[in-house]
Symmetry: C2
Subunit: 212 residues, 2 copies
């Protein structure tokens, strides 16, 4: 096993080196990058659709880079906002890595874009270990998933700079215990800001845009 | 990168060898093993609770081995059924492997147990590559996750011997398009049986128990 761990570490540090280079590049051009992680089906794409649309209304420009094992469905959905969108197909890999980002940033004109959203692969474990040069780490967690998820996936919740509770409009039907959920998040990551949101109703959108 | 892939393959084949040994052992003792995979929060534990309770009513005996990064919450929930339950803490790993199974089966008296359920780590990518010596591969997919998940995680849906649509009681509120979901599953894995279930209402439980 030790061989594997060493190889793993080598990959990680190569990733981190590249991520640091990317971050420097982002800083030079004034691009702010947001890495979004969640389970499959937590509503990353729906929330990004609302976000990109609202940014456009405000005269701000956002772009998105979307990771999936397969298909470009999410990129298509996001393109409808008029924002620049590119898809990364990870071909079976359970997370985005910095080298994928570098490849897909090539020849992509992001002049005037203020915010670049990275929609990671739907996974609460793998993406955490891979720095993408981002400035903000966002974890989405939907009410139907149940209030115990912070206790069961502590590394993801500890990793996040901000946690978005999504699908708040379904909380009641899901029997979601909000107090217990907030308590669990606080236990795993004391002090982390939590926004209560719904892509359907727009709940939390103003707070989220202020934060950005 | 090639070095990593080779190491990865070596791990996989060592896992597969051990899985084959475990399967032989299960066959000798007449234990039927079911590997259950899903996203976090798709309702694996709730469904297992109903399953174990119903088995007990029928005078059949089930047991469960539950994988999580951290906590023994799921094992505690399942123990309430009176069935033998053990917890595997994977300590950060995103899937169960055969060696973990072997370790946790040691000194565990499963005499008279007919069905052993393995609740894998909540993840639609990592667990697929690791044979656990199971006889049945079950994928759970909850309606709030959205009908496009089969297209986005085709390996998981291709892997399954049976797909359980869970949280059918929330389908309407989630705006879940059942026809499109079934069509997507059929596209990725033609002919795979799909059960429509709800741990809340008990929908699909009879069909599921017949299948077991």
């Amino acid at each position: 096993m030790s061989q594997i761990i060493e190889v793993g570490k080598a990959v990680l540090s190569k990733n981190d080196e590249l991520a640091a280079i990317l971050r420097e590049r982002f800083n030079k051009t004034g691009l702010r990058v947001i890495n979004i992680v969640s389970s499959p089906g937590s509503g990353k794409t729906a929330w990004l659709q609302r976000t990109l649309a609202r940014l456009q209304q405000q005269g701000r420009r956002g772009a998105a880079l979307v990771g999936d094992l397969e298909t470009d469905r999410d990129a298509q959905r996001l393109s409808q906002s008029g924002a620049p969108v590119r898809q990364i197909r990870t071909q079976g890999m359970c997370h985005l890595e910095a080298f994928m980002l570098e490849q897909h940033l090539e020849n992509w004109n992001l002049d005037g874009v203020e915010l670049l959203f990275l929609e990671n692969v739907g996974n609460l474990v793998c993406p955490i270990g891979f720095d993408l040069g981002e400035h903000l780490k966002v974890l989405l967690f939907s009410t139907p998933e149940g209030e115990d998820k912070p206790l069961k996936y502590p590394p993801a919740f500890a990793w996040a700079n901000v946690v978005l509770l999504t699908k708040m409009d379904m909380a009641e039907v899901a029997g979601f215990d909000l107090e217990f959920a907030l308590q669990n998040i606080e236990q795993v990551h004391p002090g982390v800001p939590v926004l209560q949101t719904s892509a359907r109703t727009g709940q939390g959108l103003d707070e989220w845009l202020k934060l950005l």
